[in-house]
Subunit: 317 residues, 2 copies
Amino acid sequence: MKAKFLIAAALLAAPALAEETPAPSPGEIVAAAPAGDWVPIDHQDLLVMDLAPDRESRPRRVVIQLIPAPFSEAWTANIRTLARARWWDGLAIVRAQDNYVVQWGDPDAEDKAKAKPLPPLVTTKESEYLAQTEQVMMVDGQASGMIPRPEVTLARSDPYAPSAGFALGWPIGFRWQSRAIWPVHCYGTVGVGRGMPPDAGSGAELYAVIGHAPRHLDRNIAVVGRVIEGIEHLSTLPRGSEALGFYKTPEERTPIAAIRLGSEVRGLPAYQYLSTESASFARYADARANRRDPFFIVPAGGADICNIPVPVRRAPG
Amino acid sequence: MKAKFLIAAALLAAPALAEETPAPSPGEIVAAAPAGDWVPIDHQDLLVMDLAPDRESRPRRVVIQLIPAPFSEAWTANIRTLARARWWDGLAIVRAQDNYVVQWGDPDAEDKAKAKPLPPLVTTKESEYLAQTEQVMMVDGQASGMIPRPEVTLARSDPYAPSAGFALGWPIGFRWQSRAIWPVHCYGTVGVGRGMPPDAGSGAELYAVIGHAPRHLDRNIAVVGRVIEGIEHLSTLPRGSEALGFYKTPEERTPIAAIRLGSEVRGLPAYQYLSTESASFARYADARANRRDPFFIVPAGGADICNIPVPVRRAPG
């Protein structure tokens, strides 16, 4: 692994400098990635949440990328329906639990008399849960392009899945034997709030992870997206004092001004993610697992899947 | 593993209810732990940081437990010296980087003319770094009590160490072959800020983790403690806009009113942690790795070391 990396690094560096140049940091590898390694994110796959401005009247925009098919399709369809219906406008952040999640939706959802009426939504039964969240990656008897590339697989195994890797730009757990793959919970992951089984949630109540990856939620809750910009507007919200971080009074909740699909938002920047099938990503993931940049004394020799965040940026120029 | 747990659960439940009682959640297991499974934390091992009050004049107290010997002794000795000298009083939180760390110390540390003079401190060379952070757990040729109990070891391996477990109430990485163990970085971990090697830091600049566990820092930075109360006063601080989350202007920094050893603070509550050698902790760790409480559909069959936080509480009564 180390030898392989050094050869790749030598190809990039001028021969005369090869021995003196310090190993690039993960950030330097990403900054040097060629334009062709970046994949544009369609505005139709973005969800733009504008919170009420903060005390200094500064805007607070959170940009979420929805997970692509075939993952969680029933829920992402509902989320598009809710955004087009402007259903979230005027609702609120209802919960902020330290080292866990921030959640938003209808504060009166549990009260039938006061709950905001929902547009027609797809319902998912518990029995369909795994079929929706866990995908078998075989197409016409062949492994599809979504099978994670083994060379990006981490040096040591994952505590929550037989293996972990990346597919279509997302961190996933997988089992080679059954060719099953599923999206996992990392910092910034957006998922579907739900009650006790057989409730599987509709997508009207969403949460974003603001702490250590709650991987025990994998395959128990539908992953529908990830925050790609503005997560600090969620992670710095005051924590709620009630159980699970719910706010005690309506005044403590942060109002949602609007949630829209990116395709409905004028002037939205173009975003890109670093292809997880690119050579740049493989080098970046390797550098995250084996820090050779000058600050580090002992490289770890491995990394957990959530400590290799997929790079996302505004398109340059 | 499952059968073993069910037997233990049956012993606790009334026989007639054994089949109907849902499996206890990790929190319920901790709440039911007998008093003898809790270990008092000496006030001499606490560091109490009072930030300036917030906008509503509410106090902001952060309580940190210092890591016990033999870990990081050179640095915890310096931290005690600095607290007794009231060195941090009037200094500030200088950095808040989302999903990473909040750091405090002397904003003028890099400017020799303006830097606050330090009391006499122990210096650590890079060559002593591993000897300080990584401990060989042999006492008179015998494995000492600090060797982690194998039954608490997680179901799957750790991405950053040959194995991971708990010793003396702290999460650790370890290698059985050489009997080496070292403390790891989880949410809330407090470590020693430093520059490039061979600088090993003095302990005057400290940080607390406010995001996904940055395990790549293990053995590269000295772990000196963990936040046991009030971390929300750090995790909700506005993020800095400069590189690495440093604040751009002095006005953005949060002033530190005082940092004291717990033994110097009047009226400080008594704190306890759940012994990581207790049967209650083993059951709690197992329940974190295999969620059987009613919310969960698919237990993970494993957990990462940082997703099994060691329970800490104020002593009851």
